[in-house]
């Protein structure tokens, strides 16, 4: 399972990380989010040690999505050195996510 990221630990897990971080903004009621959820979990297992993969539930954590202007879910943001370096919106295939992430690894 991918890391559970909250408003409280966002700074520590994402912004202070020295590895690229993929953050999946999702909600339990959103069908497409549930489609890519398992993909994100798979990536977490596959890229263990090379990148940090985590999920933010937008219902219980509203500050972070607002800060990064996330109006669509699912949205995947790639962070590197505390900055957003890539963005994917919607249910996208695994290959596309991996491609984006690997570009920053």
């Amino acid at each position: 399972m991918a890391l559970e990221i909250t408003d409280q630990n966002f700074q520590e897990v994402v912004l202070d990380s020295d590895k690229p971080v993929l953050v999946d903004f999702w909600a339990t009621w959103c069908g497409p989010c549930r489609t890519i959820g398992p993909i994100v979990d798979e990536l977490h297992n596959e890229l263990d040690g090379q990148a940090v993969i985590g999920k933010v539930d937008v219902d219980s954590n509203s500050d972070t999505p607002t800060k990064y202007g996330v109006r669509n879910i699912p949205t995947l943001l790639v962070f590197k050195n505390g900055e957003v370096v890539d963005k994917l919106v919607g249910a996208v295939p695994k290959s596309q996510i991996l491609e984006k992430l690997q570009a920053h690894m």
């Binding site: 909600a27 009621w29 959103c30 069908g31 497409p32 989010c33 109006r71 669509n72 879910i73 699912p74 919106v89 919607g90 249910a91």
Partner: protein
């Protein structure tokens, strides 16, 4: 027999195409035709003033959240078949065309018909363009049955041309630019050509292909050739009279004397072609006209899988 018209071939291209496609699809374990319907892709926050048509009302009822459902762009394909109909495509058999001894144009036409049959099954829109030194036909993509009939008719017309008499040259560059201008909606473009062109500058041909790419079309380039004679120069050890079918020029020589140099040069050409296609993200499929139609269907299905 001089006229390609008089030669006995299955006269119903549509029937032939159906046979090939069904033969290929039967026995494949997983149907490639699942999952192409319009798909729900994401939720977006509702903006005041926006149409309420796509609001997810069930979600609103459950949780008071106003979100709009967004869907993938309609996933029915538009396909454009482009066939080079210059004289060189009528090589190697100008007179006695049969399925055992096809020429490049016969192969391209029947391969197009095979692809069309798949499109038809999926209700994809299909159009066709043919060119030699100018655009000869340009039919925009539609998906109706009548439209398919029109295209089959057009394919039959291509076969009925007597290229030997016509000396039809190729201007790939201008033709492709014009076709790129004419196809307005994003399409999957299948191009059948032997890459033999009057304006024999690969760089410029790729500029034209880039024009198509720039318009966001996906391109599959079927490089059609008779591998034995065109790539491997397999001829008997005796002098031949080679005629350039597009210009009419002829040259007498014994091919075996030049084989080594020829193989080297064709190898270089193929390397550049492959490299350019890779560079511009064009799917290159090297097709040997003697190896059947499965190669066409497989590459199409792979492409489609990659797109969705």
């Amino acid at each position: 027999m001089d006229n390609i018209n008089q030669i006995k071939l299955p006269n119903n291209i549509e029937f032939f195409a159906r046979q090939v496609v069904e033969g290929f699809i039967t026995g494949k374990h997983k149907s490639p035709y699942h999952g192409f319907s319009v798909e729900f892709a994401e939720h977006r926050l509702y903006n005041t003033g926006e149409s309420t048509r796509h609001i997810d009302w069930k979600l609103f009822a459950r949780s008071d959240k106003l979100f709009v459902k967004r869907f993938e762009e309609e996933t029915n394909l538009r396909c454009q078949l482009i066939i080079d109909t210059s004289s060189s495509m009528y090589y190697p058999n100008f007179d006695e065309v049969t399925f055992e001894k096809p020429n490049k144009i016969l192969f391209s036409v029947y391969a197009s018909a095979v692809l069309m049959n798949i499109f038809k099954k999926q209700r994809d829109a299909v159009g066709i363009s043919t060119f030699s030194d100018e655009i000869e036909t340009h039919i925009l993509a539609k998906s109706s049955n009548r439209h398919h009939q029109l295209i089959y008719q057009e394919l039959e017309n291509v076969l009925s041309v007597n290229a030997k008499l016509n000396n039809r040259k190729t201007s790939t560059i201008s033709a492709l630019h014009e076709i790129a201008d004419r196809i307005s909606q994003r399409s999957l473009v299948f191009m059948f050509t032997d890459m033999i062109s009057d304006d024999n500058d690969l760089e410029k041909i790729f500029d034209a292909i880039k024009h198509l790419k720039h318009k966001k079309h996906e391109i599959v380039l079927f490089y059609v050739s008779d591998v034995a004679s065109e790539h491997l120069l397999e001829f008997d050890n005796k002098p031949y009279n080679f005629i350039d079918v597009e210009s009419g020029e002829s040259i007498k020589l014994n091919p075996s004397h030049y084989k080594k140099d020829y193989l080297k040069r064709i190898g270089e050409f193929l390397d550049i072609l492959r490299l350019k296609c890779l560079q511009y993200k064009i799917d290159l499929v090297e097709v040997d006209i003697n190896k059947g139609y499965d190669q066409i269907i497989t590459s199409y299905l792979l492409k489609r899988q990659k797109m969705f």
